[in-house]
């Protein structure tokens, strides 16, 4: 008596080597498919390249972001500077006989000042000459900043910016005023014939070194005093 296993084994042997006629175009179709395969991969490479490019671009933009933030905050700092300058100019405008013109600026050097002059010790001081030069250069810088002052007026319209920015400016102005008074005192001391350590005055005063307008106003005041002194002579 046969069982199913023996039937299936016989069938397996019979069917094992059974072969069908394959379609004639099978190999050509297969060849086409195999050629198509790499062609399909190209877009993947292109996509990968595009992704890489995009990643590089995004990282570049990402790195640029802090700079743009600086650019955004920069006008605010300009507002601070401009408002400070504006207040400073207003303060100096109250001073009588202010002569801000650079055209009439007398040439200050040791050659055209007599040794007997009260300001001779001040000019004879070795540190003084570079300072005079820096004063002149900063005055030029001050003149260059002035057009920006007009631009920042529009920003002053913003009440938030005004409230936030003007308050510290007033404090800075107070500090500058006190510092300004110190400078005036030093100049008067120089006019009286006493030796003044300008370098000491400059040391530890970031405002003196960094704030152009303070130095410029100091220069204006110095110029005024010099004129007065020369007239006296």
């Amino acid at each position: 008596m046969k069982n199913w296993n023996s039937v299936e084994e016989k069938w397996r042997e019979q069917l094992q080597n059974k072969s069908e006629d394959i379609p004639e175009d099978l190999w050509s179709r297969l060849e086409e498919r195999l050629v198509e395969k790499p062609a399909k991969r190209f877009p993947i490479y292109w996509a990968a390249a595009a992704m890489l490019l995009l990643a590089v671009g995004l990282s570049w933009v990402w790195n640029e972001a802090p700079e743009s933030t600086d650019q955004i905050t920069h006008p605010l700092s300009e507002v601070k500077k401009a408002s400070a300058v504006r207040v400073q100019v207003a303060a100096s405008a109250t001073q009588p006989a202010l002569a801000p013109s650079n055209a009439r600026e007398p040439k200050i050097n040791q050659a055209n000042v007599e040794p007997s002059s009260p300001i001779a010790p001040m000019l004879a001081y070795p540190e003084e000459k570079p300072q005079a030069e820096s004063i002149v250069s900063t005055t030029v810088a001050e003149n260059k900043i002035e057009p920006e002052e007009v631009l920042t007026v529009r920003l002053d319209i913003d009440p938030v910016a005004d409230e936030e920015e003007v308050k510290p400016t007033v404090n800075q102005q107070k500090r500058r005023k006190s510092f300004f008074g110190k400078i005036v005192g030093e100049i008067r001391q120089a006019l009286d014939g006493e030796t003044v350590n300008w370098q000491k005055l400059k040391e530890g005063n970031a405002n003196f070194e960094n704030r152009i307008h303070t130095v410029a106003n100091t220069y204006v005041k110095t110029e005024e005093n010099l004129k007065r002194t020369l007239q006296i002579q």
Binding site: M1, N3, W11, K18, D21, I22, L30
Partner: protein, 150 residues
């Protein structure tokens, strides 16, 4: 070898056009996976497995699913003696008359020599289902023998 593989595929995919497409897809995979052939078994056996897998994938694409779990084994009488006398063409006709699920499991087990565990793994069914489906397929073959008057 291609003709032999087409014959293997046709036992699972009865539609000639679908079978030829499956054969082509199978060969594309053979060329794509050529570097994965370790040389452990026969090259023909390796290709045959790829073709069977491709045929099963083709069935999955066209049919809904393989048979639901029926774990009832049929008590079969001993097979008819006529089954032993059938020729190749008659055997193929008889197997092709089975519904897809039964045909697939019967072919995998009886013709390709897969175990029930392997069939269960391939078709994502239980071993019990594979066994019960085989029993049912055998019973149907016996009935078909009479119906088809082979």
């Amino acid at each position: 070898m291609a003709g032999k593989m087409l014959s293997v595929i046709k036992r699972y995919v009865t539609n000639t056009t679908e079978a030829e497409d499956t054969l082509m897809e199978g060969f594309v995979k053979v060329f794509a996976k050529l570097d994965q052939y370790q040389g452990g078994g026969s090259f023909e056996g390796w290709i045959r497995k790829i073709m069977v897998n491709e045929a099963l994938m083709s069935i999955r694409r066209t049919k809904d699913r393989f048979p639901v779990d029926i774990e009832v084994a049929f008590d079969l009488a001993h097979p008819d003696e006529t089954l032993m006398q059938l020729g190749v063409q008659e055997i193929e006709t008889l197997i092709a008359s089975l519904p897809t699920g039964y045909r697939t499991i019967f072919t995998l087990y009886a013709i390709e020599g897969y175990s029930h565990a392997e069939i269960a793994d391939l078709l994502a069914i239980s071993e019990g289902t594979s066994k019960s489906q085989l029993s049912r397929a055998r019973a149907l073959l016996q009935n078909q023998l009479i119906t088809l008057q082979l």
